[in-house]
């Protein structure tokens, strides 16, 4: 019995450690501070999105719009700097505002209009996908681009903004840790602390488990649900900022893969420490897990399709392991 409990709690972590050990032996250069930092960097953007969607999972919802919020924020930041020739602060604020607004609309639709969550956020996803392309009529945004009216946009990505994606902070080794990784870690700690240790987080879990009971216990259920979508929207827009800073332009992209990878990370999080529920720590571990897997496989020259395959297989196996053993919900 004890053994099984341990298997459930630590099985996934053991799997992760085993994976790292395997790659350490099999792939040259896998074990190094740079490599570790890089894994974090590669999952920084999806990780931030995944942390946001975790908040909606906690209140029993779901947010399909995160991918397109991120790409919309990226386009907005680029538009602000390149076309409107604004500075980094304006660009960042524009993104965050978009995140808040989308979150509020999602929340409003779900809470007050009672549209089911999947539906509301799917509609929002399509909407944003179109909307983000209208100002430039489907062009990517880069310095010197020709606008639909024939004029040339001469603004530039500000250095401060680009630093968000490119600057590295000294940490024992000079120029080691990129800002995006710092952002990821800070947000992860923040949301983890928020969900686990504050009464707001606790209430959000209560809302997700039994909305009516939470309401009768005095929780402003509607406000909590809307908050969750705002958190999700803001995190997605932060992901978009990091994306823009890394790419240095506003790239026409659907963001569907961002969505799927973020959801995968959040769902893998269910299996971490046998939580069997959405949780921020698990989400962060899930994101790193996917990063380790992809980094290792790429270093071993595995083609992209085997990476999808391995990602799927490991996901399924890990989860069968957790859920079948934990036996939640049955006898």
């Amino acid at each position: 019995m004890m053994l099984r409990d341990h298997a459930i709690r630590y099985g996934f972590i053991v799997l992760l450690v085993g994976l790292i050990a395997y790659f350490a032996v099999a792939a040259d250069g896998f074990v190094s501070p740079q490599s570790a930092v890089f894994i974090f960097q590669s999952v920084a953007i999806t990780g931030v999105l995944a942390l946001g969607v975790t908040a909606t999972l906690v209140v029993g919802g779901f947010d399909l719009s995160i991918g397109s919020v991120a790409t919309s924020a990226m386009m907005a930041a680029s538009y602000a700097m390149v076309v409107l020739e604004q500075n980094a602060i304006v660009a960042v604020i524009a993104c965050l505002v978009i995140g808040v607004i989308v979150g509020l609309i999602n929340g409003w639709l779900i809470v007050y209009m009672r549209v089911p969550d999947l539906l509301a956020t799917l509609g929002m996803m399509f909407l944003l996908l179109g909307l983000q392309r209208i100002p430039t009529e489907g062009r990517s945004i880069a310095t010197g681009m020709t606008m639909p009216d024939g004029s040339v946009a001469n603004g530039k990505f500000s250095e401060a903004f680009l630093a968000l994606g490119r600057h590295r902070i000294d940490f024992f080794i000079p120029n080691l840790i990129p800002v995006s990784v710092v952002v990821l870690v800070v947000l992860a700690v923040l949301i983890w602390f928020f969900l686990e240790y504050t009464r707001f987080g606790r209430m959000m879990y209560a809302v997700g488990s039994n909305e009516r009971a939470a309401e009768l216990a005095g929780a402003p259920v509607k406000a909590y649900k809307i908050w969750a979508y705002v958190i999700s929207g803001v995190f997605a827009s932060i992901g978009g900022i990091l994306l823009a800073a890394r790419l240095g332009r506003g790239d026409i992209a659907s963001g569907n893969n961002l969505l799927l990878d973020a959801v995968a990370a959040a769902l893998i999080g269910y299996a971490v420490l046998g939580a069997a529920k959405p949780n921020a720590f698990g989400t962060a571990v899930g994101a790193v897990f996917v990063g380790v897997l992809l980094q290792g496989l790429t270093m071993m020259n595995a083609p992209y399709y085997t990476q999808d395959f391995v990602k799927g297989a490991v996901l399924v196996v890990a989860l069968v392991f957790t859920f079948a053993l934990s036996g939640r919900g049955k006898r």
Binding site: R199, R212, L216, G218, R331
Partner: protein, 503 residues
């Protein structure tokens, strides 16, 4: 009384993890007999029922049905073999999103040999037949989600009864029924008994037990602690066997209160209903009783702010009180233990500790951060106070017995001081001794607040309250001090008589 046991359980054991819940149960059911199973909360009654009905697997032991080995792996197998069960949790008995007709015929739809096609008209006809046997008058097209708790329970019972089972198991079927509905159920049970069905009946209500029992089996801590079949049945012995001790009856000494805490003036809770005025004072326990559907829950919810009165005003400590939400009510010191704990009370993913602290997180945190030590201390104290049977405060609620879940709900709201403490059917599924305990706790802690309990069972009111108000047709029709009560008048008021006869 046939001595032939249709159904036999021998040495049945069951453990959840380290925790042995059934320690070798042996039991016989005879056809044409109602066997009442008594046991305190957490004794293992429902667990036994779930094993018999194929929901749980079991450890050691065996079962026999009509002489043949019986070991159902799924509920479907048990039903097919003729063992039909109405489970304790009502929401496990009905599918809320479907209509009444489908719910009444649910088992037929899933049974073998039923027509492949689903013809709404045929289904409705079948459902009508099922409903008629129970004397149900619910609209067959109504969605079950829109029904009151009692009606849902009746739907689940009606479906089970329609099966012509060999063995019928009823796990606390009357806990949310009115006495009229319970009477209908009893006469049906009589009829099935006459047809030779073996019935296992679980209840904490002595009135049910007196009315139905042919035999009583008492259970304590997962073992049989007594069996009584000599007429007249030794009810007291059975209760003592289930509790392992004698319970002593303290008569309620009715107190009266000097200072008003809460007043309602000309409150109207339903269209066409007469207004309600009442005053609740510190230190007193007031019970409001009445039939199911007379508006008790509606009144409770109005006082708690989740429902708006149509007219009238309320005051708390002399200040106007018009809560717009549960949150505002709680802030004003008004607490409610809601009815239907599974839907309105319990947070299933939370353990006991977190369930208890839920409404008071703000008071247990600094700068929004929860003080976990304080939270645990409160939970431990409440578990102790109310005698909740559990391993620790970290137990999930789903691992508790029904009665203990109810105690957690009461414990939650007793963990902090209130000004007006409302309890809607607080004794649902609670065993006799626990009921006394809770009542005693309520009375003992009543100082400094007004306590208002809504109960359908008049006995429960008599055991608990200083003052009893009677509700009928969404208004209050009578008031009694709980000392030398005129029971006839009270019953007449409950039945709705005086409203018509006396002006």
């Amino acid at each position: 009384m046939g001595a032939d046991a249709v159904f036999r359980v021998e040495g049945l054991r069951k453990s959840f993890g380290q925790n042995e819940v059934l320690g070798g149960i042996s039991l016989e059911l005879h056809s044409g007999e109602v066997t009442v199973l008594m046991g305190a909360n957490g004794a293992g009654k429902s667990t036994l029922v779930k094993i018999v009905s194929g929901v749980y697997s079991h450890g050691a032991g065996s079962m026999q049905l009509a002489g043949k080995a019986f070991d159902p792996q799924t509920p479907a197998e048990a039903i097919r073999a003729g063992v039909v069960t109405v489970h304790q949790n009502i929401n496990d008995g009905v599918v809320a999103d479907l209509d009444v007709a489908t719910n009444l015929t649910l088992d037929r739809l899933s049974g073998k040999g039923a027509s492949m096609l689903f013809k709404p008209r045929n289904v409705r006809r079948e459902a009508r037949a099922v409903a008629d046997r129970m004397g149900l008058t619910i609209d067959l097209k109504a969605r079950v989600a829109d029904l009151a708790l009692a009606d849902r329970q009746m739907v689940a019972i009606a479906r089970a009864m329609a099966h012509e089972p060999k063995v019928l198991i009823l796990d606390e079927p009357t806990s949310s029924l009115s006495s009229a509905e319970a009477d209908r159920l009893f006469s049906l049970i009589d009829r099935l008994r006459g047809h030779g069905v073996a019935i296992l009946y679980i209840s904490h209500r002595m009135s049910d037990i007196r009315r139905l029992a042919d035999r009583i089996v008492s259970m304590r801590d997962g073992v049989i602690s007594g069996a009584f079949d000599k007429k007249p049945l030794d009810y007291e012995g059975a209760v003592n066997a289930m509790l392992g001790r004698k319970i002593h009856l303290d008569r309620v000494v009715a107190r009266s209160s000097a200072r008003a805490v809460f007043t309602a003036e000309a409150l109207r809770i339903a269209h066409g209903a007469k207004p309600i005025s009442m005053t609740l004072g510190t230190g007193e326990v007031v019970a409001i009783t009445g039939l199911v559907g007379v508006g008790k829950t509606a009144l409770a919810e109005t006082l708690f702010g989740v429902r708006r009165p149509l007219a009238g005003t309320m005051h708390m400590d002399g200040k106007p009180y018009a809560p717009g939400s549960a949150r505002e009510a709680i802030a004003a010191g008004v607490f409610l233990v809601a009815k239907d704990r599974a839907a309105s009370g319990i947070v299933g993913d939370f353990n006991i500790e977190r369930n208890i602290s839920l409404p008071f997180l703000k008071r247990m945190s600094g700068f929004g951060v929860i003080k976990k030590r304080a939270e645990r201390a409160v939970a431990r104290r409440q578990i102790d106070e109310l005698g909740i049977v559990c391993r620790s405060e970290k137990d999930e609620l789903s691992a508790l017995s029904g009665g203990n879940q109810q105690k957690v709900m009461v414990a939650r709201w007793m963990s902090q001081a209130s000004r007006l403490f409302i309890l809607d059917e607080p004794f649902q599924g609670v065993d006799i001794s626990a009921r006394r305990d809770i009542a005693a706790k309520l009375r003992a802690s009543a100082d400094g607040r007004a306590t208002l309990i809504f109960v359908t069972e008049i006995d429960e009111a008599l055991e608990t309250a200083d003052r009893i108000l009677v509700m009928s047709e969404q208004t209050i029709v009578g008031e009694h001090r709980n000392a030398d009560i005129d029971l006839d008048r009270l019953l007449a008021e409950v039945a709705g008589g005086p409203l018509n006869s006396a002006p």
